[in-house]
Symmetry: C2
Subunit: 296 residues, 2 copies
Amino acid sequence: MNRFATQLDDYTVMINSTLDKLVPEIKTPQEKIFEAMRYSLLAGGKRIRPVLTLAVCEMFGGNISEAISFACAIEMIHTYSLIHDDLPAMDNDDFRRGVKTNHKVYGEGIAVLAGDALLNKAFEVMTSTLNENSSIDRKIKAIQVIANSAGTEGMIGGQVIDIESEGKSIDYETLRNMHALKTGALISASVIVGALIAGASQKDIEKVSVYASNLGLAFQIRDDILSEIGDSTKLGKNTGNDRERNKSTYVTVLGLDQSKAFLKKITNTAIDAVKDFGEKAEFLVELADYLLNREN
Amino acid sequence: MNRFATQLDDYTVMINSTLDKLVPEIKTPQEKIFEAMRYSLLAGGKRIRPVLTLAVCEMFGGNISEAISFACAIEMIHTYSLIHDDLPAMDNDDFRRGVKTNHKVYGEGIAVLAGDALLNKAFEVMTSTLNENSSIDRKIKAIQVIANSAGTEGMIGGQVIDIESEGKSIDYETLRNMHALKTGALISASVIVGALIAGASQKDIEKVSVYASNLGLAFQIRDDILSEIGDSTKLGKNTGNDRERNKSTYVTVLGLDQSKAFLKKITNTAIDAVKDFGEKAEFLVELADYLLNREN
C-alpha cells in the first residue's frame, strides 16, 4: 500500500474499533437495540467523515486521541440519518452498504429507535469528553458545531427539502442548497471539529472549511453519478432508484457530462484550498482524489 | 386559584413561552420542519417533567432561570418520543393531546424528522448553556443525566421492551422494568436535574430521587387506569387501545382494583420521601396528589 492507503487504513481501523467499544452488546431485556445499532454502525461504510476529523486534527498538530470521540459521534449521527432515510416513509430502500437495511432486518419500529439511540449516544459520547478538564472550551464548541450541522439548519433541514421536493422538478439552486444541508453540513463539521480540537487558528479553520464544503459537494455529485451509471454490486445498493422515483439529482439537472466536468472542477477547488499547508495537506489532497474516482 | 394551582400555572406559562422562543418558525425552504416540531411541542400537554425540574430547583433555593433550558430540553425529548411512539410502525395512534398525531398531519417522513429534530434541538439548547461560564460542572452533569435517561438504558430501552412485548403476556417484573425505563427514567432525570442545577447535596438528591421514581410509577399506573376507564374526550386520545392491541398494562396484570390501591400506596411513598423538606416540599406533595386524581 502507498502512504495514503496505509494512513486511511490506520484511521479506519481506529474508528471501527472505537465504535465497536462505544456501542457494546449489553445483555439486558432491551438487547435488541444494541444489536440493531451495531448492525448499521459496524456494517462497513467508508468512514469519510471521521477520517476527515482525524486527518485534519493531525494536520494541525492535534492529538487524535482527543478527536476520536467526536469523530465517532459524527459517524453515529451519519449512520442514524441513513437508517431513518432508508425507512419506507422516506426513501424506502432495501439495501445499504451491501446488506439489508435496518428496518428490513429488525422491523420499522426498532429501526426508528435504533436511529434515535445512535443520535442520543452521539451526544452521550461527546459530553463524556467534558469530564476531563482539559481544553473544555474547544470541546464545547465542537459539540455545538456538530449539533448545529445535524439539526434543522443542517442535515435534517436538507432531508426535509428532499422529502418536499420528491416528484417535483427542482432547479439547480434548490438542489445545491438541499445537498449543502443534507450532506455538506456534517462533512464540513467533521473537518471543522478536527481543526477545533487541534486548536487551529480561525484563519486556518476558514481554509479547511472551503476544502470541506467543496469536498462535500463533490461527494454528492459522485454519488449521483454512481447512482446513475455505477455498478450496484460495488455500490452495495440498487442503482437507478433516483430516476425511478423522479428524484432530481446533479445528473438529471446538469446532465452526465456536465456533472463529471463540475465534479472535476470542484475537486480542484477543494485541493487548492489546502495548498498553503504544503506537505502536511498531502493526505487531504489524496483523499479528495480518491473520492473523485471512487466506485462505491 | 389556590397556591398550588397558581404556581403550576406560573411554571407552565414560563415553560410554554420558552418553548415557543426556542423553536421559532423560521422562513427557510425547510420551514415545514419548524411547523411540524411546533405542532407537537406546543399542542398542550401537562408539562409535568419541566414543572418538576423548576419546582425542585426552587425548593432547593436554585434559580429557575438557570433550570429552564434543561426543563425545556426534557420536554422536547418527551415530545419527540411521543411523535415516534405514535407512528404506524409503533403504537399507530391517530390522536394525541386532543389533536391529530404528527404523522397524520405532516406524513410519516416529516414526523420521523420532526422527532429527530426535537432530540437534536434538546442537545443544542442544553449545550448552549455551557457558553456562560458559571456552574459549568453542574450543567455538564445535568446534560449527562438527561442524555442517559433518554437513551438505551432509559427511555429508548423501555420502548424497545414495549415493542418486543406486544402481543405477549408479560409478568409484573417485566412490566415494571419496562415503565421504569420508558417513563420513569426521564421523570427521575427531570427531578434530579432540578436538584443538580440548584446545587443540592448528594443526600438531598437521593431523597428527591425516591420521590421521582415513585411519582413516575404512579403516573404510569394512572395512565393505564385512564386508558381503561377514562373519558376519551378528556384524555384527548382513544381509550381501550391497549386492550385491543393485547398490550400488558398494570390494569391487565394487576386488575383494576389492585391497580388503584397500588397507585394510592406509591403516591404516599413519593410524598413521604420529601417530608423532610417540610413546607418547602408543599408543591411537590400537591403535585403528587394532583397526578393521582387527574382525568387526563
